[in-house]
Symmetry: C2
Subunit: 133 residues, 2 copies
DNA sequence: CAGTATCCTGCACGATACTG
DNA sequence: CAGTATCGTGCAGGATACTG
């Protein structure tokens, strides 16, 4: 068995396993659902207002956007700021913590590309899949 | 070209965005559902037979285990091997590709731990609180 | 503009029984 | 042992209407 870098799996017995799975679940849950990922990515392009986000995400309903934003806020990934103007302006921002999703998403994306190539049968060029310019 | 660190998001406009999201979705989908993660982790401890896996994952039903294993097999993450003994023995194995989930899961886990600390209010000294207007 | 309030539908998942 | 087959349910998510 090859000794990879410190994979937590290596150190655990089965009863520990369920517990050590929890953080993984937490991470997955944070991006859970049909829309959170798109919302987060959208906010990586800059702070947005409710309607702006809605316009950028095809087919999302107000209800879902509202709900997902509240979820993201509860998870401290997104900050909601109300400006007391007339009419009221509400701005959504990624928190510092929310911005930390970037690296995670990049890792997911890299694996996803590998995965797609694998399933498509292209196994040869494993490293040649950088984003094309 | 060492720029491994930079986020793909930086380079994209919004219309590209949806497309670049697909691999991320692929990755998330590969671990989608209530049981896949546990099954994969279970197989990281060694090759297993159907009933063995079932015993290690509390509350999973035969139906769900069967279905999820078929999903994982379709995604080439798990290999199913039938040994022609009597009675028949079926062994489940992680493929090389399936083993590549290890690093991904570790990254998810790391972020998950950070996330939990963040939400619990324990912000490490390494990271300043992001409260400001 | 920035959302709620209702109502509805499909599908993920569960319970239980059966089989080669 | 290694699974199907059937039936049932909750809830994520959608459609549409309404509001301060």
């Amino acid at each position: 068995m090859e000794a990879k870098q410190e994979c937590f799996v290596e150190k655990l017995n089965h009863s520990d396993c369920a517990k050590s799975l929890l953080p993984v679940r937490d991470a997955l849950d944070a991006l859970n659902g049909k829309w959170k990922l798109q919302i987060v990515i959208s906010l990586m392009f800059g702070n947005k207002r409710f309607t702006q986000i809605a316009k950028e995400i095809p087919n999302i309903t107000d209800k879902m956007l509202s709900k997902e934003l509240r979820d993201l806020e509860a998870h401290q990934l997104v900050k909601r700021t109300v400006y007391d103007s007339i009419p009221v302006v509400v701005e959504y921002t990624l928190t510092e913590h929310g911005r930390s999703l970037r690296d995670l998403i990049d890792v997911l994306r890299s694996w996803g590309i590998k995965h797609r190539n694998q399933v498509m049968g292209k196994v040869e060029a494993s490293e040649a899949e950088e984003v094309e310019a």
